[in-house]
Assembly symmetry: C2
Homo-oligomer: 211 residues x 2
């Protein structure tokens, strides 16, 4: 398998964690987001969206896109250890948390959107303020979604789809100066994940393209 | 079941289609987005994100949020007719298409983001241009993702998760004046969906709160 990513792409980071949790190896190819390498023709041929990540399977011609779809594929084809619980209601809660990040936070604060804001004349402070507000609002809701849990991770005693979305989003939160003091449960989960080699090896600073 | 929605919320609309395809009945409660009713305390108690939709199950206290998580729950608990194919690679492709809309188009062009742009001083023309550009870019990629298919729907001969995301997004595309002429396959799928009672009954103009 070949994972197309970028060290600071939080969507690619989710898939790195998933692969590590499953014990799966992939070759990593990096595309520099700020230099626009993800918009080059040889990459958009693989992923028409021109977004990271994409996962090329060993099966000829099969390319998966969208981080959550990739994670679900990995979970269906390599079920152990699971990224989702078994029971439908529990699965729905984990997926909703993951989507609260992957739909409603990250795409509204990513580089693509910040570049659009810049093109409309917003300066760096305004763009950073935008990202900070979007992340702060979204994570405040995420804190409530897991507040009643008492496992070490978002939903229980093992890491899964929710946690692999949370950790990269918290990294972005800190980059943009979000105040996390009212989110103690998210911080506890982050600390639990930081103990795990699967999360450690997926961190941006551990990638070959880190700057 | 009680579905909390709004006639023009495209995320709630997805779930209406899914319920109809499955032949499931729900009571509908409407929350007026432009009047901010989704931010009222009695709703955010159900959905801390303050977003539509939410699905209250008959099981006491169980509330599902996030349209795609709700659709997957419905598919797992009521598998016939299926919203997703059976084979993991095919499932991943359908999910990726759905997420290309539900992660990368809709949350970047919805009312919440347009309101944020307004608060930064962007006028109506600039806000509408933003929505138009985001939708046009996203749907152009979606067209490529399904261009090689030759079934009546996005992925094959039956409607599913991809189609129930596409139809509401095309409605938004038209609202914002996106040129769809280079997306013939998406338009053919829309026409096929428009023939189906499950899609017809879910349309905004058929909802009790339509204006």
């Amino acid at each position: 398998m070949i994972l197309h990513g970028y060290y600071r792409s939080t969507a690619a980071w989710r898939v790195r964690i998933a692969l590590n949790l499953k014990g799966l190896k992939a070759e990593h190819r990096f595309h520099h987001l700020r230099r626009g390498e993800h918009q080059a023709a040889d990459y958009t041929r693989l992923n028409p969206q021109g977004l990271l990540p994409a996962l090329e399977l060993d099966e000829a011609g099969a390319v998966l896109t969208q981080s959550l779809a990739i994670c679900e594929y990995l979970d269906e084809t390599q079920p152990d250890p699971p990224l989702l619980p078994r029971e439908p209601l529990a699965r729905a809660r984990v997926r909703a948390f993951a989507q609260a990040i992957a739909c409603d936070i990250h795409p509204v604060q990513n580089l693509k959107v910040l570049n659009r804001l810049g093109a409309l004349g917003l300066d760096g402070d305004a763009r950073n303020g935008w990202a900070r507000d979007v992340i702060a609002d979204g994570l405040a809701a995420c804190e409530i979604l897991v507040a009643s849990g008492n496992g070490a991770f978002c939903f229980g005693e093992g890491p899964g789809l929710a946690d692999l979305c949370l950790v990269p989003q918290l990294y972005n939160a800190k980059r943009f100066g979000v105040d996390l003091s009212a989110m103690p449960r998210l911080q506890l989960v982050e600390a639990a994940c930081a103990e795990l080699p699967a999360f450690q090896a997926a961190a941006p600073e551990r990638q070959a393209d880190a700057e």
